[in-house]
């Protein structure tokens, strides 16, 4: 059963252009995604594709000039804004991208213990610290005394000791050592295996592939494909969307070949398929309207040519 479900989420920002003109920019349109129990869902895409935005919308921490529509369901029940806020920190643990989310005036050990709601918090915190190679002395330190990598591991610990049902991790790995990354990823796997769920937001497909069950590919504010992890293999023949295939081929361990062009700007999106301007399969029909999401071979795709 889907533990968390986002249905037709659209986000727009109202912002000032030059001078006094104000305009509405649609940054996310009709996005739907499901997070199943016991599953790790990786969300990959380039910067500006709306990955972090989705996390912020789910945690109800979007900036004030944002407008949203659509619904979020938790264990099958639709959530109001208030319920969503209440969920955060209890059922939903967030590992933010920025280490500035740590409280600068509290010892980090205490901060980590706070997110644990039952059981022996101190013991839990110590064992989690040990597993992330954080020494005993670290729990008495304040955030400004930590290196970037240590702060990041502290954030990981916060989620690890919590009794949340869902972890949303926004780029948790950059700047960390290979060993720690593996440790963190293994922890996510264990977490998910206890009938909980993890949403891992990353631009690093390599990391996502090692632990995720499904991968959702974002492009210009929408999901272009949701595929089981096994489809990412060989030359990418099993992948559905041309963008996903290009992404896969561009990896250094594969062909390392780019496709030309860049992701369109949100203020200047094409009328039809968002990927059409860069797509090798582009036809007249692609430029008429945005393709709908459709089921295809145990996954989903937003492309009229995909087979």
């Amino acid at each position: 059963m889907a533990i968390l479900e986002v249905k037709n989420l659209s986000i727009s920002f109202e912002q000032y252009r030059s001078g006094l003109k104000r305009e509405v920019i649609d940054v996310m349109s009709n996005l739907s995604i499901e997070l199943e129990e016991g599953e790790i869902l990786a969300i990959v895409g380039s910067s500006g594709s709306g990955k972090s935005l989705l996390a912020h919308a789910m945690l109800n921490i979007l900036p004030e000039n944002a407008k949203t529509s659509g619904q979020i369901f938790y264990e099958g029940k639709p959530l109001t804004d208030v319920e969503l806020t209440a969920l955060r920190g209890k059922e939903l643990a967030f590992i933010p991208q920025s280490v500035n989310f740590l409280d600068p005036l509290m010892q980090v050990g205490k901060q980590v213990r706070q997110s644990s709601r039952n059981g022996n918090a101190v013991e839990k915190q110590r064992s989690v610290f040990e597993c992330y190679h954080l020494g005993k002395e670290v729990e008495k330190l304040y955030p400004f005394q930590l290196s970037g990598g240590m702060a990041r591991r502290t954030l990981l610990s916060t989620a690890a000791v919590s009794d949340a049902k869902i972890i949303i991790a926004d780029e948790p790995t950059p700047g960390l050592d290979e060993v720690v990354i593996q440790e963190a990823l293994r922890n996510f796997r264990e977490f998910a295996d206890e009938n909980r769920a993890v949403m891992l937001i990353t631009h690093d497909i390599g990391a996502a592939l090692t632990i995720a069950d499904k991968i959702a590919v974002f492009y210009a504010g929408t999901v272009v494909e949701i595929a089981p992890v096994g489809d990412f293999s060989g030359k990418g023949e099993k992948l559905r969307h041309p963008y996903t295939k290009a992404l896969w081929r561009a990896l250094p361990q594969n062909e390392f070949t780019p496709i030309p062009g860049a992701q369109p700007h949100l203020s200047d999106l094409p009328k039809g398929c968002l990927f059409a301007p860069r797509c090798p399969l582009m036809t007249e029909a692609c430029t008429v309207e945005r393709p709908r999401v459709r089921e295809l071979r145990d996954g989903k795709v937003r492309c009229i040519h995909a087979t």
Binding site: G19, L20, P63, E64, N65, K67
Partner: protein
Amino acid sequence: MKMNLLSNRRQKTLWMMVIGTIVLLAIIFSKVWVDTDKILTNLNTRNVAPTWDYLFGTDWLGRDMFTRTMMGLSLSIRVGLIGAIGSTVIALTLGMVAATMGKTVDRVISWLIDLFLSVPHLVALILISFTVGGGFKGVVIGLIATHWPSLARVIRAEVMQVRSAEYVQMSRRLGKSNGWIAVHHIFPHLVPQVIIGFMLLFPHAILHEAAITFLGLGLSPHEPAIGIILSESMKYLSSGLWWLAFFPGLALLIVVRLFDKIGESLKVLIDPTKAHL
């Protein structure tokens, strides 16, 4: 969601700035449009309560309080303007010097800033203006000498931050000189800080000028600034001539508030993290 209620904030701020500037100019050049004859002693119209002819009433010598208030404010604003400009120049100079001329200079200037901030504005202002001989000159020098520290600190911090920024270090490796970096990298960051700093200094300077003049330590009674008008009026308050202090005081408050408000909204407008709210 809040957006709809607030309507277009940029437009609002801009309108307020236009109105504020018009009010300011109107007051500074009040000599042109008010009837200066009304300020002369006229014993036939003594102690008139506010009417349509005498909007703010008249005083014990029959002088029109509206005209006096306008001319008093005009003088106060001019003094405040000179004070604020002078302070801003000092703040800019000291702030930049502190951030660029090495550790010793920085220490001396930081110590000076702390020194001035540790003494209440008004006390330092009174002491300085008294020492240099009081009067118009004394007040102006006093205002200039006391209002720079907080802005100097902001500018020092800004310069230091930009100087150590990665893009400035990159610029050095691209062969740019210190002068080039100051003009092209640092200066653009200071402009908004200086404009906002100036806007926020301005009401302060006016208020402090009025305060020490009210206490009798500022401008002389021959120069009818708003502080003089207020302190003279105090004597007549108990005899029921409430309008003598009420309207000039209110006018002063409105002017000060107006500029404070403009400064604050400008600050929010320029702040990139709040620019779209």
